[in-house]
Structures are given as structure tokens and as C-alpha cells.
């Protein structure tokens, strides 16, 4: 599969949006050359504020700008944009429902060699816990650009999680993203893999392998964790009778928890979960870490088989 960088796409999209909308301002915490908000900073220096290594302060400043009518994009690494400023996210953005878009790069363990301190593996749980926040994990660069455009035009607080490495392209050019509406990437009747982010490509790979073994596996991209497309979950449960949830995140609080809450209430079916479990990861190359911590197409394949067996 061809690959592209979600964060580079973000940087370019932000410039495009900045040209269209003079109310957009961007804040970063000394990481703009990594989050790629540097593109925006270069073109619109007056509307870019480097807040230094002050994530808590940055979220408060964002709130003040948003309360004064600005559409505010805030970027940092996912780990610092979630854990470092959670109380500020809660009281300054979530409770007053302000128009701030947290677009964090370097999500998950594919950050790689920097190790546990830099692996954002609890960010989805934290953001999904905040009332009013929309939470999106794009599957590739094309979807990332679309999600950023939607965030710019929809009022309210958003969290969008992007990756450090280049990731496989799963969509054709011209794909149109609909917030809160899951995308069936591949039809299937024996089981459904619901995935987000880099795990969508891996799920498609697993479905290919499973097809050769006679298991017809559906793949659904659940790009919007919140609000969750519950209808898509019920449909998958009803039509395929088994669900596997795959995400680059801890077991608790992310997509798996949200899908399981829906199936438990609406349509219980055998489920399996492909995630990091309840642990921190080590330093290493992205692919090595995905292997070590059970986030490969092979892991999805095994989980689908277990779920199908339990039907």
C-alpha cells in the first residue's frame, strides 16, 4: 500500500483553512516542526502562537481566544495534549463547550524509539471521558485532511489523533468524510473488525488472509469514537454475529470499551479485542513494537477466528 504522513497532511490542510478563514488561529507547544503547524506559522505568523513548553497554559489561552470568537487549533504530541493538561481540557474547553480543536500528532506506540514517556496510549480514554468532545482517529492521510476540515467548520471541542510515521493509504482520492458515520471498508458476513487509525489497514490485511481460509470478514472504520456510530455497531452485530475491535490504545476506555457498551445494551455477540492490554510499551522501531504488543494483521486474524468459534 502507498503511504503518507497524516501530520504533514494536517500541516498543509491547516494552511489551506487559514487562507479561507481569517478567524483560525493556531497554538503549539514548541513542537511545530514535528506537528507541522510550522507551515501555518510561516504563512500566518500573526495568527500563530508558540506557547513554549506550557501545555496547561496553552489550553487556557486557547479557551480565551475561542471565547473571543476564534476557531482555535492546538497541537502537540498526543501524550502531552492529553495527560499534561487534562484538568484544563475539562474546565476550560469541555464544560463551557468552546470551539477549540486539539489536533495531536504522535499518537500510540508507533512513536517508537522515544519510549513509554512519549507513547500516548490512554488519550482516547481521556478524551472520550469529556462531555461534548468529538473524538476522531483518521485511518489515513486522506481521512485526516477531511477530518481537520470538518473540525474547522463544526462548532465545538474536537480531539483528532494523528501518527508520527507515514501510514498506509486506505482511501481513494476524493473520499468524503462524514463525522460520526462509520465506513464499511469491506463487506463480510462471518465477523466484523471495527478498527481506528493504523489498525484499519491492518484489519484489511487480516481480512484478505481470512478470506483465503474461508472466513468472510467485514471491516468497518470507526473513525469517530465520539459520538459513536451505534447503528453501525448494532448492524455489524446483527448481520455478522461477532465483533473484533482493533486499536492502538490500552484495553480500557477506547474504542473497545465504547463498542462493547453498545453491544452489551443492544445486541450482545462474541467479541474480541486487539489492543495493548494494560501495560506500557518499550522503546523500539514502530513495526517491532506493533509485533511485540500484539497489534498486527496476524493478531487480528487470530482474534477473528476466536470470535467466530464462539458464535
Amino acid at each position: 500500500m502507498a503511504e503518507a504522513s497524516t501530520r504533514e497532511t494536517y500541516g498543509k490542510t491547516l494552511v489551506e483553512l487559514g487562507r479561507q478563514n481569517k478567524d483560525i488561529v493556531v497554538l503549539d507547544a514548541d513542537l511545530s516542526t514535528s506537528t507541522m503547524t510550522s507551515f501555518f506559522a510561516r504563512e500566518f505568523p500573526d495568527r500563530f502562537f508558540d506557547c513554549g513548553l506550557e501545555e496547561q497554559n496553552m489550553v487556557g489561552i486557547a479557551a480565551g481566544l475561542a471565547a473571543s470568537g476564534r476557531t482555535v487549533f492546538v497541537s502537540s504530541f498526543a501524550i502531552f495534549a492529553s495527560c499534561r493538561c487534562f484538568d484544563q481540557l475539562r474546565l476550560c474547553l469541555s464544560q463551557p463547550e468552546l470551539n477549540v480543536k486539539i489536533v495531536a500528532t504522535h499518537g500510540g506506540i508507533t512513536v517508537g524509539e522515544d519510549g513509554a514517556s512519549h507513547h500516548a496510549i490512554e488519550d482516547l480514554a481521556l478524551y472520550c471521558a469529556l462531555p461534548g468532545f468529538t473524538v476522531v482517529v483518521p485511518a489515513d492521510a486522506i481521512e485526516a485532511a477531511e477530518a481537520v476540515r470538518v473540525a474547522a467548520s463544526d462548532y465545538g471541542p474536537f480531539y483528532i489523533r494523528l501518527s508520527r510515521p507515514k501510514t498506509p493509504i486506505v482511501y481513494p482520492e476524493g473520499y468524503r468524510f462524514t463525522l460520526g458515520k462509520a465506513v464499511t471498508m469491506r463487506q463480510g458476513k462471518d465477523a466484523t473488525v471495527m478498527a481506528v487509525g493504523i489498525m484499519v489497514a491492518k484489519a484489511l490485511e487480516a481480512a484478505d488472509i481470512l478470506a483465503r481460509q474461508g472466513i468472510d470478514c467485514r471491516v468497518v472504520n470507526m473513525h469517530t469514537l465520539k459520538p459513536l456510530d451505534e447503528a453501525a455497531v448494532v448492524k455489524a452485530a446483527s448481520e455478522t454475529g461477532a465483533i473484533v475491535v482493533a486499536e492502538e490504545h490500552l484495553a480500557q476506555g477506547g474504542l473497545g470499551s465504547r463498542v462493547a457498551q453498545t453491544t452489551a445494551r443492544e445486541k450482545p455477540v462474541p467479541m474480541e479485542f486487539v489492543n495493548l492490554g494494560d501495560r506500557y510499551a518499550l522503546s523500539g522501531k514502530s513495526e517491532e513494537l506493533l509485533q511485540r504488543y500484539g497489534l498486527t494483521a496476524r493478531d487480528i486474524e487470530e482474534s477473528v477466528k476466536s470470535a467466530v468459534k464462539r458464535k
Binding site: 487556557g60 489561552i61 471565547a67 463551557p96
Partner: protein, 261 residues
């Protein structure tokens, strides 16, 4: 007017049966001077785009802010009696979602100065002349975020921003100097790049001239370090840490109101 607002504070908190009288009474003169002499604002149109902004960072002093808002006409004075009651617009801590005139939701300390920086930056982006005022407690300067914000307000050269620190010297469980010493306080702000003005926070002439001094200062933000007395105006609440977060009984409230006649 300050006495009247203090009476509102006592009555509101006694009626609610809970709340923070001490920090409202120490901030009363600072807030009275702002709302009745300094702020350009329009209570009939709380969202007026040219208004001066007042941000209450020490959100537990909500009662004194509500009293000032009611007496300037943002909502009926009678509504003060609903403080902290279910479905009231007057939440226990200041809340921008429900109360006309409240700019920011507060109550988790240390956040207001950052918010004020965002508001002041927006004024600069929009080439607007409004000024942004933010009231902090000395206790909340123990929060690291306050100093992140202090650094950045000076870095951004926000001379349209005035911070006031209500230095009543006390926090929930005792004297600030015993719990986490902040001194030399003025020197800290100066080292962070701020223009500082030290005043007696209960002397109206000093308060008003400090606001003027802040407005005249160019190229850097100003902090007014207002030395105050927690519980000011009620003899048995003054410098009494017991009234940080405790409502007076009705008997105590009556004594307090008598002192404030």
C-alpha cells in the same frame, strides 16, 4: 456600595448554607472599584464586543462577582437568593455557561490568567481597545500554571492585560506563608517581566490609581498586588481561616449584617 455587596455576600452564603465568605470579602473592594468605576461594560448586552473583560480566576469568590453583576444590572438582585440551588444560574463556582456577565468557568485554581491571555491576544488580533482584567488569589499562585501564564503574558508583551492578586495571606487550612510560602511575591512577578503595583486592597484611592497606572503601562502586563484581609468587614471573619469555605449560621449572619450596616 462595597458594604452593600458585602451584605449580599453574607446573605447569599447563609441562605445557600455553604460557600466561601472569606475570599469574597477580601476581594470586595477590588471588584467594587472595577465594576462601578473602571470597567466599560453594558449589563444589558453582556456580549458587547467592545466591553472590558473581567475574569474571575479565584472561582470560589463567585458570590462577590454575582453581587456586583446583580447590582450593575446583569440580572435581578432577587436572584442572588438562588445561589448554589438546583437549576439556579448562580453555580457554586463561577460558570460562563449559565451566568450573564461571567466570562470563564472557574473553580479549579490557576487557570484564569491563561484564559485572560487568550482574551487579550484576541483583542490585539482584532485591533480592539478593550482591556482584560483577571483576579487571582495568592493561594492559587501555588499552582504552576499561574507561572506558565506569567511567563507568557510578559513574553507576548500584553500591556492590555491587568492581573490583580487578592493577597489575603490565607488559604483553606491556614496562613499561606506556613503552607507554601510565596514571598518575596512582588519580586517574583518583577522577575517574570511584569510591571508591579503594590497597594492596600481596601483603600479605594489606591485601587483606582493602580488601575490607572496599569492602563498607562506600555510594553508589559501589570500585576496589582493588593494586600487584603480575609473576611474583611466582619470582625469575627477577619483573618479567620474557619470562614474560608464555611457558611455563617443565621445568628452569625445577623451579627455580620449588623456590622455591615
Amino acid at each position: 456600595m462595597a458594604k452593600k455587596l458585602r451584605r449580599h455576600v453574607i446573605t447569599m452564603i447563609a441562605t445557600a448554607g455553604s460557600g466561601h465568605p472569606g475570599g469574597s470579602l477580601s476581594a470586595t473592594d477590588i471588584i467594587t472599584a472595577l465594576y462601578f468605576k473602571v470597567l466599560r461594560h453594558n449589563p444589558e448586552n453582556p456580549q458587547w464586543s467592545e466591553r472590558d473583560r473581567f475574569i474571575l480566576s479565584k472561582g470560589h469568590a463567585a458570590p462577590i462577582l454575582y453581587a456586583a453583576l446583580a447590582e450593575t444590572g446583569y440580572f435581578p438582585v432577587a436572584e442572588l437568593a438562588t445561589l448554589r440551588k438546583l437549576d439556579s444560574r448562580l453555580q457554586g463556582h463561577a460558570d460562563s455557561k449559565f451566568t450573564p456577565g461571567v466570562e470563564m468557568s472557574a473553580g479549579s485554581l490557576g487557570m484564569g490568567l491563561s484564559f485572560a491571555i487568550g482574551v487579550a491576544l484576541a483583542a490585539r488580533l482584532d485591533s480592539k481597545n478593550y482591556r482584560t482584567y483577571v483576579l487571582l488569589s495568592d493561594g492559587e499562585c501555588e499552582e504552576g500554571q499561574t507561572w506558565e501564564a506569567a511567563l507568557s503574558a510578559a513574553h507576548f508583551k500584553l500591556d492590555n492585560l491587568t492581573a490583580i492578586v487578592d493577597c489575603n495571606g490565607m488559604q483553606l487550612s491556614g496562613w499561606t506563608r506556613d503552607i507554601m510560602n510565596l514571598e518575596p511575591f512582588t519580586l517574583k512577578w518583577q522577575a517574570f517581566g511584569w510591571h508591579t503595583i503594590d497597594i492596600d486592597g481596601h483603600d479605594f484611592d489606591q485601587i483606582l490609581s493602580a488601575y490607572q497606572g496599569a492602563e498607562k503601562t506600555k510594553g508589559k502586563p501589570t500585576v496589582i498586588i493588593a494586600r487584603t484581609i480575609k473576611g474583611k468587614g466582619v470582625s469575627f471573619m477577619e483573618n479567620n481561616v474557619a470562614f474560608h469555605g464555611k457558611a455563617p449560621t443565621w445568628e452569625e449572619a445577623e451579627r455580620a449584617l449588623k456590622e455591615l450596616e
